[in-house]
Symmetry: C2
Subunit: 419 residues, 2 copies
């Protein structure tokens, strides 16, 4: 390491992360435009990514920067009606960009506690208004119309939450190291490391696809959940080919394999195994009961009001759009850290997602219309929110339609079937 | 002053500037959305403005932040084709926002020398592509569809150019004081100071409108220019009422009164009296000759290539869209400073603008269509670029159609006619 106290984030590693973001994550094509979103605090990474994008032959790179203080100004001073408004014009513009083959990269560095002291009713309403406004843009991401990716940056507020006992510089340095390790940029050749990793995930999805399970059953402490899988579902993981023909790695890091549940065939109860950080609120100890695919009871020990607002976003917000398997032995899980950031925590544990499904997680998904996807059990919603249900104590079985049972995971680890 | 070395920009004055921006500049209506643009460096002001906007009852405030290093990344690494591209989707989104009555505020703090070392051909092409892309949004600003304003912030690079001999903190503090003074936020009651100033500018435009001049004649060193005025032109200055019914102050500061030249009736030669800072390039000692409204010869001592690219943007880029009168004794002029920023320098000297005219500068301008405006002599272009032609050595006469002559300014000062 060459970091020092003045520079807790190693610039050489950051440059390597920028290369991975463009050449592994987005895999920007020559001439393709790029829309990047980034917190102001992550500018040291955003600037390097912009440089890498232009080196890769970008058309024009447009960076939308957000600032926590600007967000807080609204919750401090906004009048009541403000919280039902959102900048739809901006998301409509993004949708137009995607229609013109613009690629998308997000830098995630959110302070999970940003809105912890804000009025939960206002947080929930602002979140719903935002979800409605961004639908035209999110649909094109969820439908993989273009290549996209998300990478992470060690912001101070996030680092202090992950490493609460450390001084600022040390906390940032430690989170930076965790990000660099999970993103494989601490290896001598990150691009070929990602190639090998994508191949390993590809073998796992191939095995699961050959099984054609009718449902998955999760059993563990406070959890006994049957997740029906959508008709014609397809497992995905690692790299994915967008409808514009470009193969990208949508998440850096990623350890999961995932597919589409059947929106009408989920039953039983399940408890979260890690807190969910959603829009500046921490929702802890989620416990829900499903009946016929729908959440009919939900509680949490913190963030209950925000959770309820989220579930009330629309009909699909109470149903599942994704189920993902991650072994308890994954490197991120083995770090023993709780990251309070879905990009990490979802790669440390098996999880489910409320809301919108990915059309890519269907055989021939790119050619299926919205109605056909619904008919096969794919869920539709304004939201897509992952939360963690895996741990070292969870067993997973694959069920066939007749009730036949195949072990998939035991005590959180793959059984030989899917290794 | 309460500034100190650690805080060269007085936070109390900045708070006052934020109030003036919202309550004098934009005059945001309760429930109205706001689109703000700001350099990252001006976040201390942008955050206060967002707070003021929400206190004034804003719907949602959307802030687009730009960063000089992101701009430079393109000129450092972009391939040739990049420089003909622009993010049209973003400007289309803005146009949609304005169609929905979103107000607009820009914070100007540009480093005038940002692109001084970039390839002028690339700078010119990128500027043209940007102008074409933003046309749908700029038209609604130039046409005063909604209330808008521009305020300034003392960025370090700008301050160092205005005060080249000073240390960083001192330069920023001095530019901050100049901005606060010109923006009237160093007075005990800035809002009523702006009311008085608007009334004074209103009396001047009323006098000029009563004269109904056919043309203005500028005579001074290296300048002998006749600027025909558009048929049905109207003088404006200070506050203006947008087509949405909201009266705003589009520029903070402002000292000018201005109207629309006739695009076909400008003749003679004119020399700039201050450098023009345009898109990161300084264009010094501009000297042009007009024939029948069109620039037929143009040279400058620096930035010649960028000037030529600008003039070649479209047919209207070689014709005038604005003529403005500012007395040499204006407070900004008397500061003796050269600001390298149009927001200041245009309020220190009479000036002309290449390109698009303002429909507001016609009697009943809000109800005139594009064709009618052209028929009356109003110019159309993708650009609108002000440059300074006034000084303490310039005389201005008003001409009637028969050639009758009325003195308007002598040695850069108003004669009694228009005081």
């Amino acid at each position: 390491m060459t970091t020092n106290k003045k520079e807790p984030v190693d610039p050489a590693r950051l440059a390597s992360l920028a290369e991975v973001a463009i050449n592994v994550g987005v895999r920007l094509s020559p001439g393709q435009d790029l829309l990047m979103t980034s917190p102001v605090e992550a500018l040291p990474l955003a600037r390097k990514i912009a440089g890498e994008a232009y080196k890769a032959g970008a058309g024009v790179v447009t960076t939308l920067l957000d600032d926590d203080e600007l967000t807080l100004a609204r919750f401090a001073h906004g009048n009541d009606a403000s919280f039902d408004r959102a900048a739809g014009w901006l998301f409509n513009g993004m949708a137009e960009a995607f229609d013109n083959n613009c690629a998308r990269l997000a830098i995630s560095a959110d302070n999970p506690m940003l809105l912890a002291n804000a009025d939960p009713d206002k947080v929930g309403r602002a979140s719903k208004a935002q979800s409605i406004a961004r639908k035209p843009a999110l649909e094109k991401i969820a439908g993989f119309e273009i290549n996209w990716s998300i990478v992470t940056y060690p912001s101070l507020a996030w680092a202090k939450l992950v490493f609460p006992g450390e001084e600022d510089g040390v906390a940032v340095q430690k989170l930076a190291e965790a990000i660099f390790s999970a993103s494989r940029v601490d290896l001598p050749d990150p691009v070929s490391a990602w190639r090998s990793h994508n191949e390993a995930l590809g073998r796992r999805t191939k095995t699961l696809n050959e099984q054609r399970f009718f449902a998955l059953e999760f059993v563990g402490p406070d959890t006994n959940l049957t997740v029906g899988l959508a008709d014609g579902h397809e497992w995905a993981g690692g790299e994915a080919t967008a409808n514009n023909g470009i193969t990208c790695n949508p998440n850096i890091p990623t350890e999961e394999v995932f597919t589409t549940p059947h929106a009408g065939r989920v039953s039983g109860h399940v408890a979260s195994t890690k807190p969910l950080s959603y829009g500046g609120t921490l929702i802890r100890d989620i416990s829900v009961r499903f009946k016929d695919g729908r959440i009919v009871e939900a509680k949490s020990s913190t963030g209950q009001q925000v959770l309820e607002k989220v579930l009330d976003t629309d009909e699909g917000a109470r149903r599942l759009g994704e189920v993902a398997l991650v072994p308890h032995g994954s490197p991120i899980s083995q770090s023993g850290l709780l990251f309070y950031n879905t990009m990490f925590d979802e790669n440390a544990a098996s999880h489910i997602a409320l809301g919108q499904c990915y059309s890519k997680c269907f055989a021939n998904g790119g050619s299926l219309g919205r109605e056909q996807i619904s008919a096969q059990g794919g869920n539709q919603s304004l939201i897509h929110i992952d939360w963690m249900i895996g741990s070292g104590e969870i067993d997973v079985d694959g069920l066939d339609e007749a009730g036949g049972r195949t072990p998939v995971m035991r005590a959180g680890e793959w059984v030989s079937l899917a290794q």
